[in-house]
Amino acid sequence: MSRPASTWAREAAAVFAKEWRSELRTRYALNTLALFAINTLVVVSASLGPLGAAPGRATETLPVLLWLILLFAAAAGLPRAFVHEEETQTATALRLAATPSALFCGKLAYSASVLAALEALVAPLFLAVMNLDVPRPGLLVATLAAGGFGLAAGSTLVAAIIAQARGQGTLFAVLSFPVLLPLLLLAVELTRAAFAGGVPGGPEGPVSQGGAGVAMVQLLLYDGAVTTAGLMLFPVVWNP
């Protein structure tokens, strides 16, 4: 804590660079996330059939499917961030080398960038396969950015917790679900607004009182709250 801010930032950047370097050696997370997301996308699209979702229902149901794909892809790949450190027994070296909060920020930046890459791959595919027009593309991009960051923030802390427990794969899903649910509800609501576009007479989200603005503020607040909680709680999770 007493270290100057520049050292802290350098540590966080070093962790971020190390994560990407070791990721690019194996490409484990990238491959898992991308394949998982594409597989689910194929399942969803194929089972909707050649005509896709019924036009009236598309803006209601498709956002749910998009975020479920992203959630499960994240659950498949992101816990790796800390589980890998425990498995290869590099966690102790990392404990000695980096300030916990800098480590958390480095890992969070890595997870967020992986998710952003995933979204950049999945979202256009999803729109193309589902034959969707997006009347408010700006809102969709903002939602994907804020939602992806929140997903990364929540997952990073939960991943740090489960890395020290048994049964990590299932435990991650069990622990992260109640924490990430508000984020998913908000992201789905905002994505609906982006797809529906507030066209007069068009389908509205179910009772979105206050509209997309309120939901976006709440989503950003969620991101901020979970990141702050992560910064405060990560040191006690990480250091015995």
Binding site: R166, L171, L175, P182, L186, V207, L221, Y222, A225, V226
Partner: protein, 245 residues
């Protein structure tokens, strides 16, 4: 002796509440049959589930950041006991609510905002206990579980503000409402408040008992471990020395 007297008093109090719920309080208008009486039990159960969740959150924060002494296992046991009881009261609130919902709304379940919230609380409590089961080491288990409970505490306000905004509610709101006043017949309100106070006291009584019990079993485990010789030969029958009783 004092404890016993308090427990008897609580017993009498709750007996009086049960009598009041069926004999003293009138039926609410616009409710089918006798169904409004379930309110005297359903609302306190939901309230106690919330109190239990908050108790667990505060105990977890005290475990993580308390300094007198640091990492006091008593706070960890208090958090665990509160989560367990919260699960019990939460299930009772859900079941009583679903029965009433079937009578009044025609379906056991319809994702009313309060139903969503209680389900998330139940899932959270279950996840907390699953996490505890997945960690062997006592200190580490306490630390990770407390961090998870603290994360839950941070996320809770979003359920309170976000979920009701997204879905509409049929839930009656005579006590907690946006109009800021209590809309309930006086005798019903008396019984409801008495019931709330009684079940809150019941929660804290059970919580104290459970926390003490967890403390005693931790002590017994500690003694057993201390009694065992440091280099005991492994007993082929599986009974380690000192654990035979």
């Amino acid at each position: 002796m004092k404890r016993t007297a308090a427990a008897w008093l609580l017993w009498l109090w709750i007996a009086a509440v049960i009598w009041g719920a069926f004999e003293y309080a009138p039926l609410a208008a616009k409710f089918i049959g006798q169904s409004s009486r379930i309110l005297f039990f359903h609302v306190p159960m939901a309230w106690v589930a919330f109190v239990a969740f908050m108790t667990a959150g505060v105990a977890s924060l005290r475990y993580l950041f308390g300094t007198h002494p640091p990492r006091d296992p008593r706070h960890d046991r208090a958090a665990r006991a509160a989560i367990e009881l919260g699960l019990v009261f939460g299930v009772l609130a859900t079941v009583t609510g679903a029965i009433w919902s079937r009578i009044m709304w025609g379906a056991y379940w319809n994702w009313d905002p309060r139903q969503t919230s209680i389900v998330m609380a139940l899932i959270f409590n279950g996840a907390y206990l699953a996490l505890r089961d997945a960690v062997e080491d006592g200190e580490k288990r306490a630390r990770l579980a407390a961090a998870y409970a603290a994360l839950g505490l941070v996320v809770t306000p979003f359920f309170i503000f976000v979920v009701p905004r997204i879905t509409f509610s049929l839930h009656p709101e005579p006590v907690i409402n946006a109009r800021g006043r209590v809309e309930m017949e006086t005798r019903m309100l008396q019984v409801l408040l008495a019931s709330g106070a009684g079940f809150t006291a019941l929660f804290f009584w059970l919580h104290g008992l459970r926390t003490r019990l967890l403390g005693l079993s931790a002590l017994a485990e500690h003694r057993t471990a201390a009694d065992a010789p440091a280099f005991a030969p492994i007993d082929p029958a599986g009974a380690a020395p000192g654990t035979s009783n």
